[in-house]
């Protein structure tokens, strides 16, 4: 017996589901999916047909080290950027017009110009100050393309992270500050124990997107001769003229980005558990 008769209401037959017809949308959907499948099969076929164990043995270690360079570059830049972003966000929120103006100019400059141009400015432009840098002993640091990339990326991501931090902190209502003050907590305690935990929920998604953008953006260091994943790919292509070198790189990048996206979703579900009913 089903639930309907238990509660005493009259049994009503559900109308049959309307038969699915071949609408224009359905045809279009199947056609496009067919194209995707064809493309996917073609790709797999291409990779299988051009498989060469010798080639794989020769170049696969390069890809692994390239992946390591990419992850190191992104990791270091994000951490340094996070450290720089704190004073920048503080300055941006301060009531002193000079301080907040300077912070605004910094953020505007780094968000308004291409990362590639900033990287070129550091990598090629630093040569113009060779004598000065030599005097303070920094020349050996800036001679390495990897360090230049770290320098440019850190300053760039610091600008983005400062804005996220500011937005997240300002999203916490004023009453939270006032409530903490009336309980006798001083400013640092309020910030650390009351404001930041609430701001973290707001900031998580933008921060995660920033990490993904950095992973994708870091590909440009290949142009300034750093052998990250993209750099190794270009090198492999230049040596073998085998297009599968790019396909492999694409697959690896897609996997990294998908893993990051899933991880962010998971963390977000975890830290917003108390908000769900």
């Amino acid at each position: 017996m089903n639930a309907a008769s238990d509660t005493g209401t009259a049994m009503v037959d559900r109308p049959p589901l309307p038969e699915r017809t071949w609408t224009r949308q359905r045809i279009a959907g199947h056609l496009i999916m067919g194209l995707w499948v064809l493309l996917g099969v073609g790709l797999v076929w291409f990779l299988v047909a051009s498989w060469d164990t010798e080639l794989f043995k020769k170049y696969a270690p390069g890809y692994v080290s390239g992946l390591g360079v990419t992850l190191a570059l992104v990791g270091i830049s994000i951490v340094i950027g996070a450290i720089i972003s704190v004073p920048v966000a503080y300055a941006r929120m301060s009531k002193n017009p000079v301080l907040s103006g300077l912070a605004y100019a910094y953020v505007y400059f780094f968000r308004g110009t291409p990362l590639l141009a900033q990287t070129f400015l550091v990598y090629y432009g630093v040569g113009s100050f060779k004598a000065e840098l030599d005097a303070v002993g920094l020349w050996s640091f800036f001679r390495e393309a990897f360090n230049c990339a770290i320098f440019a990326f850190s300053l760039n991501t610091a600008a983005y992270q400062a804005e996220m931090l500011r937005g997240a902190i300002e999203s916490v209502p004023r009453g939270q500050w006032e409530g903490a003050a009336s309980l006798g907590l001083h400013k640092m305690q309020t910030m650390w124990k009351i404001i930041l935990p609430q701001a973290a929920i707001v900031a998580l998604r933008p921060y995660g997107n920033e990490v993904i953008l950095m992973v994708k953006g870091s590909a440009i260091v290949a142009i300034i001769t750093v052998y990250d994943l993209m750099g190794i790919t270009r090198l492999t292509y230049a040596r073998t003229f085998d297009f599968q070198s790019y396909i492999w790189a694409a697959i690896i990048y897609l996997i990294i980005v998908e893993i990051l996206r899933r991880a962010i979703d998971w963390v977000e579900r975890r830290i917003t558990k108390h908000l769900k009913r």
């Binding site: 609408t23 949308q25 359905r26 279009a28 959907g29 199947h30 496009i32 999916m33 995707w36 505007y108 400059f109 308004g112 110009t113 291409p114 990362l115 590639l116 141009a117 900033q118 070129f120 400015l121 090629y124 432009g125 630093v126 040569g127 113009s128 100050f129 992973v215 994708k216 953006g217 870091s218 590909a219 440009i220 290949a222 142009i223 993209m230 790919t233 270009r234 292509y237 297009f243 790019y246 396909i247 790189a249 694409a250 990048y253 897609l254 980005v257 998908e258």
Partner: protein, 237 residues
Amino acid sequence: MQNMWTLLSWGPQGWLDDIAYGVFITVSLALATLPVGLAVGFLAALAKQSSEPSLRLAGDIYTTIFRGLPELLTLFVVFYGAQIGIQKIVQVFAPGTTIEVNSFISGMVALGAVFSAYASEVFLSAFRAIPKGQYEGGYAIGLSSGQTMRLVVLPQLIRIALPGLANLWLILLKDTALVSAIGLTDILRQAGVAARVTKHAFLFFSVATLIYLVLAIISSFGINAIERAVSRQDVRR
């Protein structure tokens, strides 16, 4: 430094004319990509909000790929992939000929694909912000689904999507810098040439960076004007 002003002057001595040409290329690439990206992005959003599962899946695959790949990699794949593909096709008909793929078109295709993948997400969230009653109202007064879309939904959609699209335009403008890597003579490439010839790398890359900044500032003025015009329309209704 008189030397610096000579370098930045117009004419055979200076590099200003070359850099101006680069600005022209950058701006025209961005402007040429915009309508393509908007149109494809809108179609992808339509697919992703349709009731047909296969269409939704197809749209999702498109966005996942082009949002997940680095822009530079997309550019290289389009540039070299098209080169190889077209070469193979041409070989069948006329063996021995070589084909050069236009880097402007490659840049347009690659940047357009990336732009449209992001734009489709913006359009999708705008679609979700429009209540179902708007469609039902449209059908109730006898409009066809195409008319409802064009006359009822689209005007509201554009207004909601505008801030997100404006953001994407600024990103597109910055992404055009990548085409210098496939040999298109944009701002950054011209600055690089000038830097190599004159050995004043810092000067020329600073100029290039500042030009991008100026383009961004001009864009945000334009965007503000458009947003004001659109919101004025909103009040009048």
